[in-house]
Symmetry: C2
Subunit: 127 residues, 2 copies
């Protein structure tokens, strides 16, 4: 079941928080507005990472280590699955060396304290 436009807009707003606050502004505490409290990420090159504190630290190291300047997320589709939403998307990372990296991802969204957030987040690179 495809999600209604109002809900798509709410998800888009969270994805923009990730793009602008977490990545572009390097405000890693703002992962609180993106991930649920006990979210899990499955990053390439590492094991499962659980919990918002550990996730903030992951992004701090990844963004500063790779010198990521920006990220653009594009939803391919998002479907309601019971109380959750499953989103499939593409992402582009802009690096300080002028290169960009193409990725794709699957995010399971859950509602926490009235807000939709990423609960399971896995991605990989296209090349």
């Amino acid at each position: 079941m495809t999600i209604p436009e109002s809900l798509a807009s709410a998800l888009r707003s969270v994805n923009q928080t990730f793009e602008t606050s977490v990545i572009k502004s390097r405000d890693f505490d703002s992962v609180d507005r993106v991930y649920t409290n006990n979210a899990r990420i499955l990053p390439p090159g590492a094991d499962l990472i659980e919990g918002r504190g550990a996730i903030a630290e992951f992004w701090r190291q990844a963004v500063t280590g790779l010198n990521v300047l920006g990220a653009t997320l594009t939803t391919v589709d998002a479907r309601m699955m019971g109380e959750c939403i499953l989103e499939v998307g593409r992402a582009e990372l802009q690096l300080a060396n002028g290169q960009s990296v193409s990725l794709k991802y699957v995010v399971e969204w859950q509602r926490e304290d009235g807000a939709w957030k990423w609960h399971t987040d896995i991605w990989n690179t296209n090349s």
Copy 2:
């Protein structure tokens, strides 16, 4: 919501089909018993691939190209999400050169013609 044991057993059986028929026996037509008809995979190093025919061809090239001898899937957890199941797991690939590769994955399961199958499948390596 965690899934009941009977359902976990059904999923395990499909995962074993992947391990033994698709990977170990290199019977790539047996992806029909693992993936839904319009399933999507998101493999590292490639774009999204959609449809069972294209998925069979992906596994044919990946398994023969990397000379994969075996795969072991281990479910970390599986939860009902409406009509679907979301599984998070770990996988080990055994290569002909004696090396093994550690991966993790997220699979969305859907029911098709009475059988649970993989509908969305994304993974990456741990190192």
